[in-house]
């Protein structure tokens, strides 16, 4: 029974990987970028748990900078995905311009809060 479960899981991962292989490259780049941001956020959480929360504003801004980046990147990914019919009227150039503007605002706030 357990063997069949692990086989099912293997089959699931396999089908997921083969399906992901057909994803366009620009979306894969965005995924990589999101993964990088989430990984940095996790490192900071572990560091805070070890060292303590003393410069708490610095911790918050470091963490929120990562989370904000990840969220904005996900938003961009939704908008530039050709298979997403919801945003088919929105030009990918416009979506990218929104992404850049939001990032500028995010990093301005982060720099103010970093201390």
């Amino acid at each position: 029974m357990a063997k069949s479960t692990s086989k099912d899981a293997q089959a699931l991962f396999h089908s997921l990987r083969s399906a992901y292989a057909s994803t366009p490259t620009n979306l894969k780049i965005i995924d990589l970028y999101v993964g990088f941001a989430v990984f940095t956020a996790l490192i900071q959480v572990v560091y805070m748990a070890v060292v303590g929360s003393f410069p708490f504003n610095s911790f918050l801004s470091g963490l929120l900078s990562c989370i904000g980046t990840a969220v904005l990147a996900v938003c961009l990914r939704i908008q530039v995905n050709k298979e997403n019919k919801e945003f088919k009227d929105l030009a990918p150039e416009r979506a990218f311009a929104d992404f850049v503007l939001c990032n500028l605002v995010l990093h301005l706030v982060i720099m103010n809060f970093l201390g």
């Binding site: 970028y33 940095t40 470091g62 720099m111 201390g115």
Partner: protein, 435 residues
């Protein structure tokens, strides 16, 4: 030039030429003495002489003199009032109960001596001061165990009492060895008045009754609830002395020897003179009158008083407290003066240390709370005038640029924020050139 020098010298001596009362100088100088009978002036002369020798101008008047008055054109003519007129039903001139209460309410001092057969007027004044005399006009304080041994009097109304209040500021630092002779009416303190104090109380075996008639019902005043001499310091620092006996101020009692019943020691001289003289020094503000000047506070290491503190500042607070000795302001020395750093409740409560020259100081850290604070000194001690100082000071939080920068522990967070920015640039480049 010589004229200018002369002028400067005269200016320098001007304070000594002025003899009028000033708030800086709390000593009462002019005292009105109201008497039933001018014979009291000679029979109580020792007490009056002790006041005069300390610089008081006594103005003796009969209580029903039609020309007496406490004030003229809204100015008080006297700084103190002595009522040695227990039987007076109404005063002459413009003085009445309300005038005397106004006199006290404006910060002046009062000595009342009643007696048995005290008039309703004197009783009313005493009631206003929180003291209720025995309602029976013929009642006297009788004590069959601690009376004064005497050859002529056998009804035990001449009491030798040594149950003094324990306070150096009220009775002087010198201990009163001999008992005090008392003959007169007893009183009780009104429970509603928290300012009035027993200075000389009767012994537990005393009671208040008419000595000439048989005791048919239990006496209303008994034991040490009977006060013989009481004092009151009003909230405006006016001081009042109330005694149930006029004769205790007399030369006869001052000079007579005293032997308390049941004790073998016979004192050459009763304690009356010492007791009443020391108490009059207190009543007329020659002792126990405090003033606080020169309240200062500043940041540790600076000299100027700031308009505002920041949270967690270190500050130094100091105040100078002096006691009036009758002639000059002497440094007041105590170890129980406290300062509060107060906003709705005291955030800091610290004892002040003193340099024994009148200066009290302490240093503390402003709490990590911002708002409008007050430095408060509330000093209320038995017999001393109350000090109530408060000074308001705002406390602000850190400014935006006052926070600590570049903390080593925060470098990973800085690194994360900057790597996110670098990541953004790289991602932008890759995203644009990947088309």
């Amino acid at each position: 030039m010589p004229k200018l020098a002369l002028f400067l010298i005269l200016i320098h001596f001007l304070p000594f030429l002025c003899t009028s009362f000033s708030p800086e100088n709390p000593s009462s100088r002019r005292v009105l003495v109201l008497l039933d009978d001018l014979a009291l002036k000679s029979s109580h002369s020792v007490y009056f002489k002790s006041l005069q020798s300390r610089g008081f101008e006594l103005d003796f008047k009969l209580a029903d003199d039609p020309k007496i008055g406490l004030q003229r054109y809204g100015q008080y003519l006297y700084d103190g009032l002595i009522l040695f007129c227990p039987t007076t039903e109404r005063f002459g001139g413009s003085i009445d109960l309300a005038a005397i209460l106004d006199f006290v309410d404006s910060g002046h001092d009062l000595i009342i001596a009643a007696d048995n057969n005290a008039s309703d007027l004197i009783r009313e004044i005493a009631t206003e001061c929180g003291v209720d005399f025995d309602e029976d006009p013929a009642a006297m304080v009788i004590d069959h165990t601690s009376y004064a041994v005497s050859e002529t009097e056998g009804d035990h109304t001449l009491i030798a009492s040594d149950d003094f209040i324990k306070s150096n500021v009220l009775l002087g630092s010198e201990k009163i060895e001999a008992p005090v002779l008392f003959q007169g009416i007893g009183h009780s303190l009104s429970p509603a008045n928290s300012l009035v104090l027993k200075v000389l109380s009767a012994s537990p075996s005393a009671y208040s009754a008419n000595p000439k008639s048989k005791l048919s019902s239990p006496p209303s005043l008994t034991g040490s609830a009977i006060s013989l001499v009481s004092i009151l310091q009003a909230r405006n620092n006016a001081r009042i002395l109330i005694s149930g006996s006029l004769v205790m101020f007399s030369n006869r009692f001052f000079r007579s020897g005293v032997q308390k019943a049941g004790t073998p020691t016979k004192h050459e001289k009763s304690g009356n003179e010492q007791f009443l003289t020391e108490l009059s020094k207190w009543v007329f503000h020659e002792r126990g009158h405090l003033k606080a000047v020169n309240i200062q506070h500043h940041k540790d290491g600076e000299a100027d008083e700031p308009s505002m503190y920041r949270i967690n500042d270190d500050l130094v607070y100091s105040v100078e407290i002096y006691e009036w000795s009758g002639r000059s302001w002497e440094p007041y020395v105590a170890d129980d003066v406290q300062v509060q750093f107060y906003m709705m409740s005291p955030y800091v409560l610290k004892n002040l240390s003193t340099d024994k020259k009148g200066r009290y100081f302490t240093a503390f850290k402003v709490p990590d709370v911002y708002g409008v604070f007050q430095f408060k000194v509330e000093y209320q001690r038995l017999g001393y005038t109350s000090l109530s100082l408060s000074k308001q000071i705002p406390v602000r939080p850190y400014r935006h640029n006052e926070y600590e920068r570049f903390i080593p522990a925060a470098y990973p967070y800085y690194g994360a924020a900057f790597s996110m920015m670098a990541g953004f640039f790289i991602f932008t480049a890759v995203h644009l050139y990947n088309k």
